[in-house]
C-alpha cells in the first residue's frame, strides 16, 4: 500500500547514495533472517522437525527446480491466477464504466455492491466443491469473485472522479458516448484501475493458493498440503518460499505497471478507498 513516496530532501546524488545504502541494509536484513533460520534449528533452540535449517530448505528448493511435477504445479497456479484475474479485470472494468457512467445505475447498485463486496469468498468453498469438485473451475470461481469487487469498486471511484465540466464540454462538442468514455472517462479512471489491478492481483493469488490447499485443485497450494501431510517438512517450507517469491513478484509487477501507466498522473493519484 504505498502512497506516492515522499521525496527525500537532498541532491540527486545524495538520494541515489541513500537508496544504495537502503538496498544494502535490506539485503543484510534478509541475510540475517536466513542466518537465524539456519542457526536456530542447528543450535537446537527450535526442533528441526518443525523448522529445518535454511540450508536444508534451499537444498530442497534447488532439488524441486529439477522436478517436472514442481513446474507443472507452478504452471497450474500461475495459469489459474492469471485467468481469474483477467476475467475479473474484464468484468470489473466493463461493469464499472457502465455503472459509473450512468447515474441511475450507480444509485441503484450502490447498496448491493456494498453488501456483496465484504462477503468473504471462502464462504463459497462448500458450494464450488459441490459443483466442480477439485477441478480448476473451483479455484477460478473463488479467484474471480474475490478479485472482481476490488476492481469494480476502484473503477467506480475512478469514473466518479471524472471532471463534470470536461465531460459536459465533450458532450457539447457532440462526442459520441464511446468517444467520451475513451477520451475523458478512461484516462481519469486509469490510475484507479491500476490500483484495483494491484489489489486484485494479490487477492487473486491468495484465493488461488487457498483453493489449491483446501479443495485440492492442482497447483502449488495442493503440493504444500501434500508435502505437509506426508511429513516432508523441508519441502513444505521450500514451496512456501516459492509462493512467497511469487507473491513478491506479483506485487513488484503490479507496482511497476502502475508506475509506468501513471507517470503523467502521479499528482492526481491518491490511494482511493
Amino acid at each position: 500500500m504505498t502512497v506516492a513516496t515522499v521525496p527525500v530532501a537532498g541532491t540527486r546524488t545524495e538520494r541515489v547514495a541513500g537508496r544504495g545504502r537502503d538496498a544494502t541494509l535490506g539485503v543484510l536484513g534478509l541475510l540475517v533472517v536466513v542466518g537465524l533460520v539456519e542457526a536456530l534449528p542447528r543450535l537446537g533452540i527450535v526442533n528441526d522437525r518443525y523448522l529445518p535449517p535454511a540450508s536444508a530448505m534451499f537444498t530442497e528448493l534447488a532439488g524441486q527446480l529439477g522436478e517436472a511435477a514442481f513446474w507443472t504445479a507452478l504452471g497450474d497456479t500461475l495459469r489459474g491466477w492469471a485467468l481469474g484475474l483477467a476475467v475479473a479485470m474484464a468484468a470489473g472494468i466493463v461493469l464499472g464504466v457502465l455503472i459509473g457512467s450512468v447515474g441511475i445505475l450507480r444509485d441503484l447498485t450502490a447498496s448491493t455492491i456494498e453488501f456483496l463486496r465484504p462477503i468473504p469468498s471462502v464462504a463459497l468453498i462448500p458450494l464450488v466443491v459441490l459443483l466442480y469438485g477439485s477441478r480448476p473451475t473451483s479455484a477460478l470461481v473463488l479467484v474471480v469473485y474475490a478479485a472482481f469487487w476490488q476492481i469494480l469498486v476502484q473503477v467506480l471511484y475512478g469514473v466518479a472522479d471524472v471532471d463534470p465540466v470536461v465531460r459536459d464540454t465533450a458532450r457539447s462538442y457532440r462526442f459520441s458516448r464511446l468517444a467520451i468514455i475513451r477520451t475523458v472517462v478512461w484516462p481519469t479512471a486509469l490510475p484507479y484501475v491500476m490500483t484495483g489491478f494491484r489489489l486484485a492481483a494479490s487477492v487473486a493469488l491468495i484465493l488461488e493458493i487457498t483453493a489449491e490447499l483446501i479443495i485440492g485443485v492442482p497447483g502449488l497450494g495442493k503440493s504444500i498440503g501434500v508435502a505437509q501431510s506426508s511429513g516432508a517438512v523441508e519441502k513444505t517450507y521450500a514451496l512456501v518460499i516459492v509462493v512467497g517469491i511469487i507473491g513478491v513478484a506479483v506485487n513488484l509487477l503490479a507496482r511497476a505497471l502502475e508506475r509506468r501507466t501513471l507517470r503523467w498522473h502521479v499528482s492526481v493519484r491518491r490511494e482511493a478507498r
Binding site: R79, A82, L83, L85, A86, V87, M89, A90, I93, V129, L130, L131, Y132, G133, S134, R135, P136, T137, L140, R182, T183, W186, P187, L190, V193, M194, F197, I215, G216, S229, S230, G231, L257, T261, W264, H265
Partner: protein, 325 residues
C-alpha cells in the same frame, strides 16, 4: 501533462488487453459419456487414492472393463464426500463412497444408487483395515477409556465416528463423551504422536504406518460394528441408472469380476498399490488387507444405518431398499 491523455489511455487499454490474454488459455474438461467409434463407451469413475479401490485399478489393468466395452478413466478426488455430488451432477458416471455417506446422501434426497459392493472389513478385530491408534504407553488401554478424550477422525459425523462409537459402547463406555476433531488421515498419526489429540481412528495404510512407529491399536471399529462390515460401495446417479442401464450393467459385471479377482490375488493387489498411492514398500508388505466380494451385504448396510440413526445423523429414515440395486 503535456502528453495526450488519450494516447496514454490507449496504451493503458493495451495493457489491460495483455492482462486479459491468458483468457485464451482457459481449459476445463468435462466428463461425459461418449460413444467411441469402435463401440466402446467412455466413463469416468471417481475414486480416492486408498487401498480399498485397488480392484478397479487391477480390473482396468487386466482388461475386464474393456471386455465389457468400457473405456474407464479413473479420477482421484480429494475425499469421498466430494465424489457423491460429482456423480449426482453427472461429472462422473460412477463413484466410490463409504456406506454412511451414501445413506446420508439418500436421506437428503441426493439421487444416488448403489451398483455393486466396494470394500468390506475383515472378521478379525486385531487384523483389520481400520483401527484406533494411541501413543505407546498411553493410559488409554481399551476403547472405553476414550470417554472424555479428544479423538481425531477424517470426517465428523460419518462412518468413522458411528463405528468408533460402537466400539466404545461395546466396551462399556459412553461414546457421547468423546470429543471428535477432524483431521486428514495422514495428519492423524503425527497428531497422536505429538499429543495434539489423545487418539485417532485411521484406516490402512495409516494403521500400519502408526503401529510400525510404535503406536498401539485399540481394535477395529469396523469389525466392532459388524464383522465383514460393508464399508463402501460403487454407485451411480439414479438418472444415469435409468437412462444408461446397459452401461451400468456392463460396469457392474466388470467391477464384480475385478472384486473377485482382487480377493483371489492379494499379491497382485500389493503390486498395483504403488501405481496410484505413495505407500512405502515396507508398509505394503505389512498391510492388513480388507475383503473384496461381489456380494452386497444388505444386513451390514442396515446395521450402519442403525448406528448412524443412533448418533442422530439422519434428518429422516434412509430407504436402504431404494438405495441398493
Amino acid at each position: 501533462m503535456n502528453r495526450s491523455p488519450a494516447r496514454t489511455a490507449r496504451r493503458g487499454l493495451a495493457t489491460a488487453l495483455v492482462l486479459a490474454l491468458p483468457l485464451a488459455l482457459s481449459a476445463c474438461g468435462g466428463g461425459d459419456t461418449d460413444e467411441g467409434a469402435d463401440g466402446t463407451t467412455s466413463i469416468t469413475v471417481g475414486v480416492i487414492p486408498i487401498v480399498d479401490v485397488a480392484p478397479i485399478y487391477l480390473g482396468v489393468e487386466k482388461g475386464f472393463f474393456k471386455e465389457e466395452g468400457l473405456d474407464v478413466e479413473l479420477e482421484l478426488a480429494q475425499g469421498g464426500a466430494a465424489i457423491v455430488p460429482a456423480v449426482a451432477s453427472g461429472q462422473y458416471q460412477f463413484g466410490f463412497s463409504n456406506t454412511t455417506s451414501l445413506l446420508l446422501a439418500q436421506t437428503q434426497d441426493v439421487p444416488v444408487k448403489v451398483v455393486t459392493a466396494g470394500v468390506n472389513a475383515t472378521e478379525d478385530p486385531s487384523a483389520d483395515m481400520s483401527g484406533v491408534l494411541v501413543k505407546a504407553g498411553s493410559d488409554i488401554k481399551s476403547p472405553k477409556d476414550l470417554e472424555g478424550k479428544k479423538v481425531a477422525v477424517n470426517t465428523l459425523k460419518n462412518i468413522n465416528t458411528t463405528t468408533t462409537n460402537e466400539l466404545v459402547r461395546q466396551d462399556g463406555g459412553d461414546p457421547t463423551k468423546i470429543e471428535y476433531v477432524e483431521l486428514a488421515f495422514p495428519e492423524i498419526g503425527p497428531a497422536v504422536e505429538k499429543g495434539d489429540v489423545d487418539a485417532g481412528q485411521v484406516v490402512e495404510p495409516f494403521l500400519t504406518i502408526g503401529t510400525q512407529a510404535g503406536m498401539t491399536d485399540l481394535g477395529s471399529n469396523f469389525v466392532a460394528a459388524d464383522p465383514g462390515l460393508a464399508v463402501a460401495e460403487y454407485f451411480t446417479s439414479t438418472s444415469f441408472a435409468e437412462s444408461d442401464a446397459d452401461t451400468v450393467e456392463a460396469f457392474t459385471t466388470a467391477m464384480n469380476e475385478s472384486l473377485d479377482y482382487a480377493q483371489a490375488h492379494p499379491d497382485e493387489v500389493k503390486k498395483i498399490l504403488p501405481t496410484y498411492t505413495d505407500i512405502d514398500e515396507s508398509v505394503v508388505a505389512e498391510l492388513n488387507m480388507p475383503q473384496w466380494t461381489s456380494e452386497i451385504d444388505a444386513e451390514s448396510i442396515e446395521k450402519l444405518a442403525d448406528l448412524a440413526d443412533q448418533d442422530k445423523l439422519f434428518a429422516k429414515d434412509p430407504d436402504v431398499d431404494a438405495l441398493l440395486p
